[in-house]
């Protein structure tokens, strides 16, 4: 296997496709491509457009993206906008014939997905076969609704079967689990548990995007009490953009997603993220940023974009993390920052290594950033467990009351055993998170 291969994105459901909009808008800007897929700048040697785009016969660039939804509203809305109407390959868009959606029901989404999986997989496999060297798949969805969680879960299973050796990295939006906030989807704990099983079993990494945390961050930084999806999606787009910048702009340190070793102990592969600074793209940024400031902020437990960040436990450990720093940074600055932070990081007691890797991620040569230094932390830490515990608690509450189960049971082929199995798997996961902070983790059971 060699070098820097290509990536494909699969966007499922309303949330997944809204994220697609934000992400691909960011991608065309960063790669100097206009709405017609034509380059707007002279090519920079380090700009690897072919990582996420391919060139059509007329040489215009087309995103290597597959858009899937069971109802047409979001995708149609996207395709009508001037930004995307001429950009995407229409053959890569799948919308269900009946267009009714999944009704925020995982089972509906899952089993509708089974009906349409052949067509969707055909699209995905075709795209994969047209690529010289596919390294991985980026998958966006939410786990709280119906299509993204249910159909998304099914597609994750199919993707893993079809591509056993490719890296599957999901950007999974978790419902607003903040107890002070309400959510539209009452049954989201069920959807979440059922999705979690597939998220545990199939992808290599799951970037946990906690809606509550995103909401709070957006509200704070964008100076609004009611941040819109655009606000939140822009944050997610930034996470996705920064986390792929190494491969897209020819970094020799981490040239491919394959070299990202975020999950030493599967299934503990749920990744928290933090970004700094958070700015409204429409505002002028006047604060001075430095590597030290950004590093310090990113490593604060409360910076993680999960709503349970404040509930980090004293024995929570970092299993594996990557800090991507972008901007006008001298190499020796990162080296000294790395040496300084080493002492502040807690790791499992049996670890003889440093779990945090800090590196300079390249920036787009075509877009001038608002800030001198920025960063993204992808953190595989046991501190994500409280989020799952919280969601599991909510699930237990609902499940014990058998609330809204009928909506699921009425879906053909669905059984409550699936929920129970999923719950056990999630429980096992939480046990793993507890065990990994113990000294005898490696030798237990021997």
């Amino acid at each position: 296997m060699s070098g820097s291969g290509a990536l494909m994105t699969v966007h499922v459901g309303q949330c997944g496709n809204q994220l697609a909009q934000a992400f691909w808008k960011s991608m065309v800007d960063e790669h100097g491509i206009n709405e017609r897929g034509q380059t707007t700048h002279e090519d920079d040697m380090n700009d690897k457009k072919d990582l996420l785009f391919y060139q059509a016969d007329d040489d215009h660039y087309v995103p290597r993206a597959v858009l899937v939804d069971l109802e047409p509203r979001v995708i149609n809305g996207m395709m009508q906008s001037p930004t995307f109407s001429n950009l995407f390959n229409n053959d890569n868009i799948f919308m269900s014939d009946h267009g009714g959606g999944a009704g925020n029901n995982w089972a509906s989404g899952y089993f509708q997905g089974q009906e349409v999986q052949e067509k969707v997989m055909d699209i995905i496999i075709r795209e994969a076969e047209n690529t010289d060297n596919l390294d991985g798949i980026l998958f966006t969805h939410s786990v709280s609704g119906g299509t993204g969680s249910g159909t998304g879960s099914l597609l994750l299973e199919r993707l893993r079967e079809a591509f056993p050796k490719k890296v599957i990295q999901t950007y999974s939006v978790f419902a607003n689990s903040d107890p002070t906030q309400t959510t539209d989807v009452v049954v989201h704990p069920y959807n979440w548990v059922l999705s979690m099983q597939r998220l545990i079993e199939n992808p290599d990494h799951v970037v946990v995007l906690d809606n509550a945390a995103l909401h709070r961050l957006a509200a704070g930084k964008f100076k609004t009490d009611t941040p819109t999806f655009d606000h939140i999606n822009s944050l997610v787009a930034r996470i996705m953009s920064t986390s792929t910048a190494m491969y897209r702009f020819n970094s020799s340190v981490c040239p491919s997603i394959r070299y990202l070793d975020l999950a030493p102990f599967p299934p503990m592969h749920f990744i928290q993220s933090a970004i700094s600074p958070v700015v409204d793209p429409n505002e002028n940024f006047t604060r001075k940023t430095s590597v030290a400031d950004v590093t310090r902020f990113l490593l604060k437990p409360t910076s993680m974009m999960v709503s349970t960040a404040s509930r980090a436990r004293p024995n929570d450990c970092m299993l594996s993390s990557y800090m991507f720093l972008q901007g006008q940074i001298e190499a020796h600055t990162i080296m000294s920052a790395e040496q300084n932070v080493d002492f502040a990081i807690r790791r499992p007691p049996f670890y003889m290594l440093k779990p945090l890797r800090m590196m300079h991620a390249p920036l787009s040569p075509y877009v001038k950033p608002q800030y001198k230094v920025s960063g993204l932390l992808l953190n595989n830490s046991t501190s994500v467990a409280p989020l799952f515990e919280s969601l599991l608690t909510k699930y237990d509450k609902l499940r014990s009351k058998k609330a809204f189960l009928d909506k699921f049971e009425k879906i053909d082929n669905f059984s409550l055993d699936m929920m129970d199995d999923a719950m056990h798997i999630v429980t096992d996961l939480l046990d793993e998170y507890k065990a990994v902070v113990q000294k005898d983790y490696l030798t237990r059971g021997l």
Binding site: M1, D204, V253, F343, R347, R357, L442
Partner: protein, 824 residues
């Protein structure tokens, strides 16, 4: 004899006075022995030469009809008496044309040898010249030239005295005045001492000076003759005007000695001369010496009052007069002045003999310095002038040569430049000198800085020529101003134009060959003017600019290629020329590596170094940046990073392995190996990146406020790249004193690969074993890291083992203490 001689000259045997007969005999003797006709070199003409001359004179006098008469007479004479034959030829040579013509016609007619018919002279048939004892009577009269026995005017004519008439004592009983005069007579004393009559010259000053000066210029005369060993000697005792024999002899001794020294050295010099050579300096020196001989001779001619055909009027005219013809001048002083002048000439010629005999040891610069010193410090005016003329010749030569070297591609460089062999032999070599280590000698007359600048410019010009020939790039209107000379061909043509000659003449016109002012900077000033006016300086500067831009791109390519190209390799473990070629064609250009430089990367099939098998064969002048040592470092960078990357790939293969699903320890082991290898690789790449940033900053010349030429910036480039390479070598800890980092890394990588392979094959035990080996190798690696105090902090976190319960490393950890102990 007397009668035959008398008959030959006068015809009838008459009762000529004995004295006259004796006088004629004396003439005959003197002409044959002592006063032949000599050529310009003092060599006597042969009889044949004189015959030919006489024949030509007869033709010129339109006396062709009398040719046979003359020939018959001379042939008979030659047959019977060669001495008489020669005597007649010499006397006839000295006979003026009008007398010859008149007497030839008269006596030929008188002797019935010729007749006149219809106004034309014809030979009378069957007529023969009159003979006496086989000696023919001459048909022309040579007696007018036989009356030149008169001695100096100042001598009072002395009638010969009969010895019997000399009274020894006077009436007072004292030695008589006559006897006293006889006893005091130097010549008589000399004759008495030698026991035989003596002959001596008594010359006027003017004749004497001519003979003396002829001797000094190697021409023999009646007074100074050459013996069999080619040494001058005084042929007879001599008096000069009022000087007696002794005075004259005493004065002439040192002149004879000097003349012989000079003759000897001139002959030695001629022996060293070569008729054809490619050595321009030798030709210049030979020309100079020939000219100096000419100048010396013309100075003598000028002093003697002969101003015909003075070639070096402008030089000779500036010489002080020797006062040979002035009646007021003191002869002793004049002779001393002559001696000093000739001595000065001799000393310079002697020095030059030494130079010519060891010509290859002398460079034009050294000779120029020598001649400058001579022109300032030689004791005598004439020698200072000689050195000055040499100095000027050399300055002209050097300037013209430099002009040629700076405008003509095929100019011979080694006439002014020397090959240092290695750039390390040159102090602070420029970029061009690193490629071609030529230097120009410096001296008192041209300082080291200027000499280096000139050498540098010449070499830069050569590279410019070669680069254009290779057409590795094309200059267009944006590269060179359209109104300037654009390329080497134009420059070469320009150098052949009168305008260029005018430039050179303008530079050299200020050189005054007669100047005696001290001017140490004359050569340097001329060279500065040349450099200012020759377009080469501008061309090379522009070329340097192009090379500078290319160099910056080249560095970018080298750094990018060697730190990342291996990522695109399909098979990292097997590398060959074919693989490299395929690799380059298919992949790398698409990956954005500069195609122009990609083709410079090659595979060294003969390399015995496992870690160093890539080569960079950059075209000139970029190859100056990639010496064998530098390429070796780049190649090792490629190899080491490739090895580390290979290890990462090996670990990736294990991710979905069944073995790991049930072996958390092994999972951790692979995570540890992956993290360690990743960290090592990242640190190395980061250090290389840091070095690259420094390099880029240094090469960001646009931001520099200092205005420097592109040529100077190329030198900055070179040093910056060297510094970069050193830092890269440091980043990979390639310093040999620190052990073989590459080998240790190879062992670590090997362990990782073998562990991965075992894992994929389901051999957990084997994988575990390899992991243990990996840890051992890691410890060795860390041991090496500790030797590098500046870089060790980067690798400290890789140390195995921790003493903290919560797994957090602390600053007070015994680790660091342990490490500090272990490092010494």
């Amino acid at each position: 004899m007397l009668s035959s001689l008398s008959f030959l000259i006068n015809g009838e045997i008459n009762d000529q006075q004995q004295q006259q007969k004796l006088r004629n005999l004396q003439c005959l003797y003197m002409i044959n022995k002592q006063k032949p006709i000599r050529d310009d070199n003092g060599n006597p003409f042969s009889a044949q030469d004189l015959s030919d001359d006489l024949n030509q004179r007869i033709i010129n006098l339109k006396l062709d009809a009398f040719q046979t008469v003359v020939t018959d007479i001379l042939d008979k004479l030659k047959f019977h008496d060669e001495a008489l034959h020669y005597f007649v030829l010499v006397a006839t040579f000295r006979l003026p044309d009008e007398k010859l013509e008149k007497t030839l016609i008269e006596l030929s007619m008188q002797q019935n040898l010729m007749m006149r018919i219809d106004g034309k002279y014809k030979r009378r048939l069957y007529s023969e010249p009159l003979e006496h004892d086989n000696i023919p009577r001459l048909a022309w009269d040579i007696s007018p030239v036989l009356k030149t026995l008169k001695v100096a005017e100042i001598d009072k004519p002395v009638m010969p005295s009969e010895p019997s008439e000399v009274k020894p004592v006077d009436e007072w009983g004292l030695i008589s005045r006559e006897l006293r005069d006889i006893l005091c007579c130097e010549e008589l004393n000399l004759s008495a001492r030698e026991g035989q009559p003596i002959e001596f010259f008594h010359l006027k000053s003017s004749i004497f000076f001519k003979n003396l000066l002829d001797m000094h210029r190697g021409v023999s005369s009646d007074l100074f003759q050459l013996d069999g060993d080619n040494h001058f000697y005084q042929a007879k005792p001599c008096r000069i005007d009022e000087w007696n024999l002794t005075t004259t002899r005493t004065v002439l001794q040192k002149h004879l000695f000097l003349a012989n020294q000079l003759l000897e050295i001139v002959n030695k010099l001629k022996h060293h001369f070569v008729s054809s050579t490619t050595n321009s300096v030798r030709i210049l020196i030979q020309r100079y010496l020939i000219d100096e001989q000419q100048i010396f001779s013309e100075y003598i001619d000028s002093s003697l009052g002969s101003s015909v055909n003075i070639q070096f009027e402008h030089i000779v005219g500036a010489f002080p007069s020797l006062n040979l013809q002035s009646s007021d001048s003191n002869r002793f002083e004049v002779l001393d002045h002559i001696y000093e002048t000739v001595s000065a000439h001799y000393h310079v010629i002697r020095e030059m003999n030494h130079v010519v005999s060891r010509m290859n040891d002398y460079s034009p610069i050294l000779l120029n310095e020598m001649s400058f010193i001579g022109s300032q410090s030689a004791p005598q005016f004439y020698s200072r002038q000689m050195w000055r003329r040499l100095n000027v010749s050399l300055i002209r030569f050097i300037v013209n040569k430099l002009a040629e070297m700076l405008t003509t591609p095929d100019a011979e460089l080694m006439e002014l430049l020397t090959d240092a062999g290695d750039a390390k032999q040159i102090k602070d070599p420029s970029i061009w000198q690193r490629l071609n280590p030529l230097t120009m000698e410096s001296s008192q007359c041209i300082d080291e800085e200027l000499a280096n600048r000139v050498a540098d410019l010449i070499i830069g010009y050569q590279f410019f020529i070669n680069d254009k020939k290779n057409k590795s790039y094309k200059s267009d209107g944006s590269t060179f101003a359209i109104t300037d000379i654009q390329d080497a061909e134009e420059l070469e043509l320009f150098a052949k134009t009168p305008h260029f000659e005018k430039i050179l003449d303008g530079i050299l016109s200020e050189l005054d060959v007669n100047s005696t002012d001290e001017n140490l900077d004359e050569l340097s000033n001329c060279i500065y003017k040349l450099l200012d006016q020759v377009p080469t300086t501008t061309l090379v500067e522009k070329y340097s600019h192009v090379v500078l831009d290319k160099s910056v791109r080249f560095f970018e390519f080298l750094k990018t290629f060697f730190t990342s190209a291996y990522i695109h390799l399909k098979n990292r473990t097997f590398f060959s020329q074919n693989a490299l070629d395929t690799f380059k064609c298919e992949k790398l250009h698409r990956q954005g590596y500069d195609a122009e430089f990609l083709k410079t990367v090659g595979y060294d099939m003969k390399s015995t170094m496992e870690d160093s098998f890539l080569t960079v064969n950059a075209p000139e002048p970029l190859n100056v940046f990639v010496s064998a040592g530098v390429t070796d470092i780049y190649s090792q960078v490629f190899t080491v990073l490739n090895m580390l990357h290979t290890a990462l790939d090996a670990v990736i293969e294990t991710r979905n392995s069944e073995t790991l699903k049930h072996e958390p320890r092994l999972r951790y082991a692979f995570f540890h190996m992956n993290t360690t290898v990743f960290a090592i690789r990242k640190n190395m790449l980061t250090l290389i990146e840091a070095a690259s940033e420094t390099l880029k900053k240094t090469l960001d010349f646009n931001k520099s406020s200092e205005s420097r030429s592109s040529h100077e910036l190329l030198n900055v480039c070179y040093r910056a790249h060297r510094k970069f390479i050193r830092e890269v070598a440091g980043a990979l800890m390639l310093n040999s004193k620190r052990g073989t980092t590459a080998r240790v890394i190879k062992l670590m990588v090997s362990s990782v690969s073998l562990a991965s392979k075992a894992c994929v094959q389901g051999d957990a035990v084997g994988a575990e074993k390899q992991y243990q080996l990996f840890q051992s190798h890691l410890l060795i690696f860390l041991d090496q890291c500790r030797l590098d105090h500046s870089r060790y902090p980067l690798y400290r976190s890789l140390e195995i083992g921790s003493d903290e319960v919560d797994g957090r490393k602390s600053r007070s950890s015994s680790y660091s203490d342990d490490i500090s102990c272990r490092s010494y």
